[in-house]
Amino acid sequence: MSLVIKNITVEAGGKIVVKNFSLTIKKGEIHALMGPNGSGKTSLCSALLGHPSYRITKGNIVFNGKSILGLRTEERARLGIFLSFQEPPEIRGIPLSSFLRTIAKTHTKEKAYDTMRALTGNAKKIGLGPHFLDRSVNEGFSGGEKKKSEMLQFFAAHPKVALLDEIDAGVDVDSLDAMARILKKAASEGTGMLIISHSARIFKRCIPDFVHIIENGVRTASGGKALIKKVEKEGYRKKA
């Protein structure tokens, strides 16, 4: 498995939001992507999943050797590319449990039953009780609860590569520990990841193989986990 982002430039609302960006995510690799607010992290994710408002004007996205630029969002998702949203919308009237079951069926087919069984256990571990599963998807959920709902959807989809946009925001420490364990296990089973976060909290629990910094839509630095410490200490402006 490999997701190769080849020198892409993304335009949204008449502005360039990502510029000449390249990155390769391979099987089981954990990549961290950090950057100041408005640096293009979320735009990059939207473009990778084919959001209609994010136009790729240059470059290519290649998944397992094939360009996915011509594929619709749902087709990219069905190939095994997952996006966890920074701000997930609420879907009224659909119980989270049946939503998860449908996702599991779509992505893990005959293993859906086992997936759902394991998922119930994971829900408890990350601090989402059974009553959450009966509620409508994200409806009335707090910020942290929405992230947990994203986490369960990640688990149900069992993706080949996951883009996790601030999956840790607003999540309490105990739940974060459990989430990190789920992510590490998924990585060890082959899921490649791009974890986006402002805080080093998650990277202490789920240590990245590679760290990248994005500023004004441009990748300005890459390195190992030491880069996180540097950013923490000196801020983005002084890192390189």
Partner: protein, 461 residues
């Protein structure tokens, strides 16, 4: 893959008798004669025909100008008499209903089942233990013959012939429908079900349903409707009357899934006496044009009405639906929830009346209309009327219009759902309050129907 309207098949069944096309005194007399009715009923029919001819077409709602009354067959008889065991139903008709799953449904969860084919009931069956409690569940023609006193006492008392043009048409041509009487104190735990099928081309179906729930009784009645797809139009103009005596509870559920060539113009009204509860659950998925506003007249102190109207309008469809509550007694309360979805160029309208008559002190009315409009080609309108003659009436009216936001759509697509799947997921969620009131099999069927309707109308972008 595109799925067609599943119930669009037509059976090659020649009716035993088919009236000449068009409406005349001769046709009405013939219907009455074939049914060997008493004079008083024939007189009602003829008087109603005169009212129908005199009344202008209603122009305040959906566009009815394309209805050609002269092209319609007003009566067709498919079998001699309704059978009481499924084995005795004529073979071809049986096959048609088996395709619709009717007798199968009965075995599972109904206390009684009726089936109507074009003008008349072809089957009626009620469980022995229910019948032994004095419950009457039969077709309306049989009821006129076998229970003339009950019939005469209540027929036309809730919806008089002169109420509107189509109630007059129904009173003139009525045939079939269900007749239900629940004796004092009897609570029927399982629903009674009726199934209505139009098979003939350009057919007019005018069933007449009369439900009398005596004091302290309880009943749930469910009806479903389908028809073949023809290039020309059919007309369904039914009348339903419910009398809920003191402390009775009646729930009437309709899942209307007529093919897209049917004009569905139905008058449904209930009379709720002291502390009675009437619930209308009205699901409109099919038809070309529907005009239907289930009503409850709260005539007794403490009476309650609960109306849930749900409609789905796709390409070429106009669902003009809603509800009416008229509070005529003190301490009465009512709730109307109307939910509609329009897509693929379809149109939905909510039309409602909430009225408090002088003397109906402490009335409470709650109206909530939610419309979901899926694309810019589609349309939704709200026409609420509120009239209160008492100052202490508490009337709430809330209306929302929403669409599926680009955000929601992108979110669902990113989970692997196509545009159609994402839309039907949101629509199913929107209709969840309806699904919750239905027996499980009906709820599953409803979701399947929604998905099918959406697949027919939504083209991938």
């Amino acid at each position: 893959m595109k799925q067609k309207y599943q119930y669009g098949f037509h059976d090659a069944i020649t009716p035993l008798y088919r009236a000449k096309k068009g409406l005349s005194e001769a046709v009405v007399r013939k219907i009455s004669e074939i049914k060997q009715e008493p004079q008083w009923m024939r007189d009602i029919r003829l008087r109603s025909l005169a009212i129908f001819n005199k009344k202008p077409m209603p122009v305040w709602g959906a566009d009815l100008s394309k209805i050609d009354f002269s092209a319609i067959t007003y009566f067709a008889r498919a079998s001699d008499a309704p059978a009481h065991s499924w084995e005795k139903v004529p073979k071809k008709i049986k096959a048609a209903f088996e395709r619709l799953g009717v007798p199968e449904a009965e075995r599972k969860f109904f206390a009684g089942v009726g089936a109507q084919y074009d003008s008349e009931a072809i089957y009626h069956h009620i469980r022995k233990d229910i019948e032994a409690q004095g419950v009457i569940f039969t077709d309306t023609d049989t009821a006129l013959r076998e229970h003339p006193d009950l019939f005469k006492r209540y027929f036309g008392t809730v919806v008089p012939a002169g109420d509107n043009k189509f109630s007059a048409l129904n009173a003139a041509c009525w045939s079939g429908g269900s007749f239900i009487y629940i004796p004092k104190g009897v609570k029927v735990a399982m629903p009674l079900q009726a199934y209505f099928r139009i098979n003939e081309k350009n057919m007019g179906q005018f069933e007449r349903t009369l439900i009398i729930a005596d004091e302290d009784s309880e009943v749930h009645y469910i009806e479903g409707c389908t028809a073949p797809v023809y290039a020309t139009d059919s007309l369904h103009a039914a009348v339903v009357e419910i009398i809920a005596k003191p402390r009775a509870r009646v729930r009437y559920t309709t899942i209307q899934n007529w093919s897209s060539n049917v004009y569905n113009l139905v008058t449904k009204r209930a009379r709720a006496e002291d502390n009675a509860l009437v619930e209308w659950v009205d699901g409109n998925l099919g038809s070309k044009i529907t005009m239907k506003y289930p009503a409850v007249f709260l005539v007794g102190k403490g009476a309650r009405a609960d109306i849930l109207s749900v409609s789905l309008a796709g390409k070429g469809q106009h669902q003009d639906a809603g509800a009416k509550v008229v509070h005529l007694a003190p301490e009465t309360s009512s709730s109307i929830i109307a939910k509609s979805v329009s897509f693929g160029g379809g149109r939905t309208s909510y039309r409602g009346l909430a009225q408090v008559i002088k003397g109906a002190r402490n009335a409470r009315i709650k109206v909530r209309c939610d419309a979901l409009v899926l694309d810019t080609r589609s349309r939704s309108d709200t026409y609420p009327t509120i009239k209160a003659e008492e100052n202490d009436a508490m009337i709430e009216h809330e209306a929302t219009v929403s669409n599926i936001s680009e955000r929601e759509l992108f979110y669902l697509k990113s989970r692997g759902f196509s545009e159609t799947e994402a839309s039907s997921l949101v629509v199913s969620g929107f209709f969840e309050p309806l699904a919750k009131t239905l027996p499980l099999d009906y709820a599953i069927e409803l979701n399947r129907l929604i998905q099918m309707e959406m697949e027919n109308s939504i083209k991938p972008a």
